[in-house]
């Protein structure tokens, strides 16, 4: 498309100047989030591969998306899994602060690698243009993509002390003070006093992560854990601690989390 | 006529009064040992004591010379025998009852657990002290000057000691016993490795035959227990006492214990013994044929006293009594605190892993892990043969009775220790880290491994080193010292590796706590 515009640039240019008035009404977000338009490709792929769970309106109410999928965790918990509802624009795995939309890269990454330990499979065999096209189509489900201001991506730089014994100790204190145990339990097994009452944004019961149950869905590297604390998991009961904890405090919490998961001695 | 009656009653009363004296005089044929002559007679005319000489050389009585090791070995044997007989009152050698009778001895019989502990620790202590005694005899050159054959008798006694300990280990019929029995039976079968490599097993299965003979069948079971019991309480003890009798008789006939040519009495000797009353002959001018001594192969010089000797009564006897008490006290103290082990009832379905022979065989078991034949038959055979031949390959007669034959011997021994230890440890570390032929070339023929394995390599090194020492020092004695020192070093190191550093599946573990949890 870009090539075509360039070729016909001279002719179009004047027309564009005239239609500037009409174009001015288009919000900036569209430019900020990339100018690739979804078109038919994205829609087709969505309908072939995604609609069956995520629904034709992107609300997660597809044929099998709405509470049919059951997952038994390593710890023995059985969860009912719902497909993501795209209409609210609330996504869990972002690199932007809480309340923000994810970046394009975030979305493409999820499409590519799937979400481990869930029913969202990877799509590694899809060519990159198709992934991008689907991503564009998904964005059409929520008006927020047009309305919201863009957010800055959070920088992640892991300091050297992560995983050390003193960092783990500090993290343990923070875990206690910040009341993580209220949901995640004292031993991190997800059976804290508030854990039974948690509901996600869609009113469905959601259980806090059981640290013993294996890999985190976003990935279990220290950077991934840190980013979860910082961005929060929007749509679930996991808040962002960007404002309530300093950066190094969050890294100490990372050390303690890794310890609970058994990834650090 | 009434006189005889009075004398009769009086003499009866007198006899009653002096009954102790007269009993003592009848008991000791030569009367109470109050003079040197009567002390000499007390030794000479006594059924048990006359195996020892009337006079003892002062050097023999110096504790630093022999450290009493031979005596300790003997006393441990006696203690073990007596405690063994006590245990026989209750022990029953059938596989249904053996374990339960041992339990009952430990729990119910008064003094039972102490007796069992004494028997076990005196028996195992005997191995340690017999080895120390062998080392002492070797390092003082006491296998020379006519004592060559007695050394060989001693080697035979060493083998019997190992055998009697091993057969005793198998009697409680617990997991330790049963699997030790299985291992030993398989060691006995190890010639099969050679006959298999040569392809002659179907005609000449010496390994299989010996194993069946030992076990009384194809598998360890009730026949094996009966045979092992027979060995332990009858055959080995009889052999032991026969050989021991010969061993003591030869000590006497070979001239008592060795002493250095340069022996001079010291001041410190005064607290060890009391010299004879008269100097220059204990004999009166009348010759008596009853007292004879042979010292140094010369005919008895009747009116010349043997120099630097003291009367055995009481000096030698007091020394022996002291050693006995030390030995017995040591055994009782050890037995008071530490119980003889007893594991679960023997269970053929649950092998001990690792299944280990008793500690004194673990050096051998380590060698076994390299080659069954070499570890089980070859190397022990070579070792025993080598030990037995020492007095015949080293016939130098100098410096007998001197520890290490002097300064040169000390440095030869030290060098052998310092050279042998890293070589052996290095060899073991190599095998543990990298494995051996079969790990690198799975199809290598077994015969090659039998011939070239760490155990053989070590023996070859030992022999080459001692030959080098012989060349360098020009003395077979020095070579013998080097060889024997290396033998001791390897015994200690291999036993340590087998005991502490080998875990399940004979794998290498730095400590027990690292063994995988069962």
């Amino acid at each position: 498309m870009k090539g075509a515009i360039k070729k016909r640039g001279n002719i179009i240019f004047s027309l564009m100047l005239l239609s500037l008035a009409f174009v001015a009404a288009v919000p900036e977000a569209e430019k900020a989030y990339g100018a690739v338009s979804a078109g038919d490709l994205g829609k087709r792929i969505y309908e072939e591969r995604c609609m069956v769970c995520h629904g034709d309106k992107g609300d997660g109410k597809g044929l099998v998306g709405n509470g049919i999928m059951r997952w038994a965790e390593k710890s023995g918990r059985v969860l009912t899994v719902y497909a993501r509802d795209f209409t609210t624009g609330a996504f869990r795995f972002r690199s932007t602060p809480t309340g923000c939309l994810p970046t394009d890269d975030d979305l493409v990454r999820i499409i590519d690698s799937g979400v481990p330990r869930s029913f969202m499979p990877p799509h590694k065999e899809l060519p990159i243009e198709e992934k991008k096209a689907v991503k564009e189509y998904i964005k059409t489900f929520s008006p927020r993509w047009k309305e919201d201001e863009p957010c800055k991506v959070i920088a992640v730089k892991k300091p050297g002390y992560v995983g050390s014994a003193s960092s783990v100790e500090k993290g343990k204190k923070i875990y206690k003070e910040m009341k993580c145990w209220e949901c995640h339990g004292d031993d991190g097994k997800g059976k804290g006093p508030k854990s039974d009452k948690l509901k996600d944004d869609w009113g469905k019961q959601i259980l806090p992560f059981n640290f013993i149950s294996g890999q985190l869905k976003r990935g279990s590297s220290p950077e991934n854990v840190y980013i979860t604390f910082t961005t929060g998991l929007d749509g679930t009961g996991m808040p962002s601690y960007e404002d309530s904890l300093k950066e190094d405090e969050r890294w100490h919490l990372v050390s303690y989390t890794l310890k609970l998961m058994g990834l650090v001695k | 006529m009434s006189e005889p009656n009075h004398n009769g009653i009086d003499s009866f009363r007198n006899n009653l009064k002096s009954i102790i004296d007269s009993f003592a005089s009848s008991f000791l044929r030569s009367g109470k040992p109050t003079s040197d002559k009567s002390r000499a007679s007390a030794m000479f005319n006594n059924f048990f004591l006359h195996v020892q000489g009337v006079k003892t050389h002062m050097n023999t009585l110096r504790p630093t010379y022999t450290l009493g090791l031979g005596l300790i070995s003997l006393f441990l044997l006696l203690i073990t025998t007596v405690s063994g007989v006590v245990l026989m009152i209750y022990y029953n050698p059938s596989i249904e009852n053996a374990y339960n009778t041992v339990k009952d001895i430990t729990y119910v019989v008064i003094g039972g657990s102490l007796s069992r502990n004494i028997h076990k620790w005196a028996g195992e202590g005997m191995i340690i002290f017999v080895l120390f005694h062998m080392a002492r005899v070797f390092f003082t050159g006491s296998y020379k000057k006519g004592r060559e054959f007695n050394w060989v008798i001693g080697i035979a006694l060493l083998v019997i000691t190992f055998g009697i300990n091993l057969s005793g280990y198998m009697l409680p019929w617990d997991q330790l016993s049963y699997w030790a029995l299985v291992i030993v039976a398989n060691i006995i079968q190890s010639p099969k490795e050679i006959t298999d490599s040569l392809g002659i097993t179907q005609y000449f299965d010496v390994g299989g035959f010996s194993k069946e003979l030992f076990l009384g069948g194809l598998n360890a079971g009730k026949e094996s227990l009966t045979r092992v019991y027979l060995l332990h309480v009858m055959l080995f003890p009889i052999l032991m006492f026969i050989f021991l009798g010969v061993h003591f008789w030869r000590i006497r006939k070979d001239g008592g214990l060795t002493k250095p040519d340069s022996f001079e009495p010291q001041e410190s000797d005064a607290q060890l013994f009391s010299p004879p009353e008269k100097k220059g002959g204990i004999f009166t001018t009348n010759k008596t044929y009853g007292l004879m001594e042979l010292a140094g192969g010369r005919t008895p010089a009747v009116d010349k006293d043997v120099e630097n000797t003291v009367l055995s009564w009481p000096n030698l006897l007091i020394a022996e009594l002291a050693v006995f008490f030390i030995c017995f006290a040591g055994v009782v103290v050890y037995s008071f605190f530490i119980d003889a082990p007893l594991k679960e009832l023997a269970n053929p379905l649950i092998p001990e892993n690792p299944a280990k022979a008793p500690w004194y065989f673990l050096g051998l078991q380590e060698l076994l892990s390299y080659s069954a034949f070499m570890g089980g038959v070859g190397l022990p055979g070579i070792a025993l043969l080598g030990l037995a031949l020492i007095p015949y390959l080293d016939r130098e007669q100098e410096h007998v009775g001197v520890w290490f034959s002097g300064k040169q011997g000390k440095s030869v021994a030290l060098q052998a220790l310092l050279a042998g230890t890293p070589v052996l440890v290095g060899l073991l570390a190599f095998v543990i880290s990298f494995g051996w032929f079969r790990n690198w070339w799975p199809n290598v023929p077994q015969l090659l491994i039998t011939l070239v394995n760490p155990g053989n390599l070590w023996v070859v090194f030992m022999m080459l080193w001692s030959v080098w020492v012989i060349k360098k020092t020009g003395s077979t004695r020095m070579g013998a010292i080097a060889l024997f020192t290396m033998f001791l070093v390897s015994f200690v190191i291999l036993t340590y590796v087998g005991t502490e550093l080998r875990g399940p599946n004979w794998g290498f573990y730095w400590s027990h706590s690292q063994w995988p949890p069962h």
Binding site: A72 | N100, Y107
Partner: protein
Amino acid sequence: MRNRFYIMTLFIAGVVLLAFTLFAAYKEMNPEWKAYQKEYKELLVKGTRDEATKKKARELETNIQQLYLGGLKRIDRCTSCHVGIENPLMANAKVPYRQHSGDYLKKHPMSSFGCTVCHLGQGRATNKKEAHGLAHDTHWDYPVIPLKYIQSACVQCHDLDMLKQKGADKIVKGEQLLRENGCMGCHKLNNIGGVLGKALDIIGSQPRIYFPMGFVVGEKTPYSWIKQHFDDPRAIVPVSEMKVKVTEAEADLLTTYVASLRAEEMPKSYRRILETQKDGKTSEDGEALYKKYCIACHEKGKDSLFDEIFMHTIPAIVNPAFLKVVTNDYLKKVVEEGRAGTQMTAWKASAAGLSGQAIDNIVDYLTSKRPKEKAVPFNIVALKGDLKKGEELYKVRCALCHGANGKGELGINLRNPVVQGADITFLAMTVRDGREGTPMPSFGKNGVGLSDQDIVDTVSYVKTISKKK
């Protein structure tokens, strides 16, 4: 002094020897049980009012007490410390002096039964540590059983019906729990059952070394192992795939029953088991069999479940959509042959050991929930499958769940010989109608919207997928 050195050493050694001989003598004269018997005497003397009993009590001899039980081939010396076990005066005393609870000793007199036949432990020992045999270094494989599991002993001689009437509810409940929670789906008992777990037949008699005690909390005995294994299998055996969801109380009941599965038979004169009970060939109905063997993994069977430990989906076998399209023969085949490569065992007589009749009963039970309406027939003969198109469709629609080569993770493994050998009509109807209530959607007109031709193309391709790498 002459011979001073030796006389001194002799003297010192002699003193040491004498001292330790005296210590040893003292130890021998004061074994543990003597103290207990002494205190028992004092309790008796204090506790009684009348002089005659007091006199008798004072005159009691302190001795090892033992019961020689020839028929049971054992000797029990427990009464050396538990002296008052038969004395009604000791009804309220503290252990070990207390009288035995209940009236068990009336029907099971000590002189014939002893103690260890029910309570286990090392009867021959005469000190507490080794008699109870709980510690690892006592080297005794059958430690004293915790009282909450004591009913596991009754089954050696009595049958469950009798025990039910007499109020031995724990063992009866335990047996019921085992039978109705599908345990035999993975564990063999009496030669019938799955092979994913170890057989349970003589587990109550296994020596301690049989149980890997590395992760057991508290006393490392087989009973703690079994109980903690029920609480959380993977805490005790990290690689375990065991599916169990029981409360703590139920875990205790199950432990009681499992501990009762022992090897030795009691001598005939002791046994009270009715002969008719021993015949285990009573034909059980399908529902009971389903509870015995299937329920642990398949639960109610209506919904499918992806199990993270199995790394497989457990299919919904009582699913109405499934039952509509599947034939009884196919179901029977799947049950008999199992699904190699998954946790689904082969249940035929030569494998897990269920008889043909038993499997028929199970299939009847499963299909009893079959909906009355029949599935819409699929006329597959009329349409020819285009393999190339089928491959395209498969890649887009099916590979997501069933894997690019059919191996499947979220979806079932299509390469499995049983699936490959299924009737093509069955496969086509499955794709068309889906499995309602599971992640397999309907791909036909009522669902995703594929045409019959599309479905035939796809299914034909699926039938060839095991040939692909």
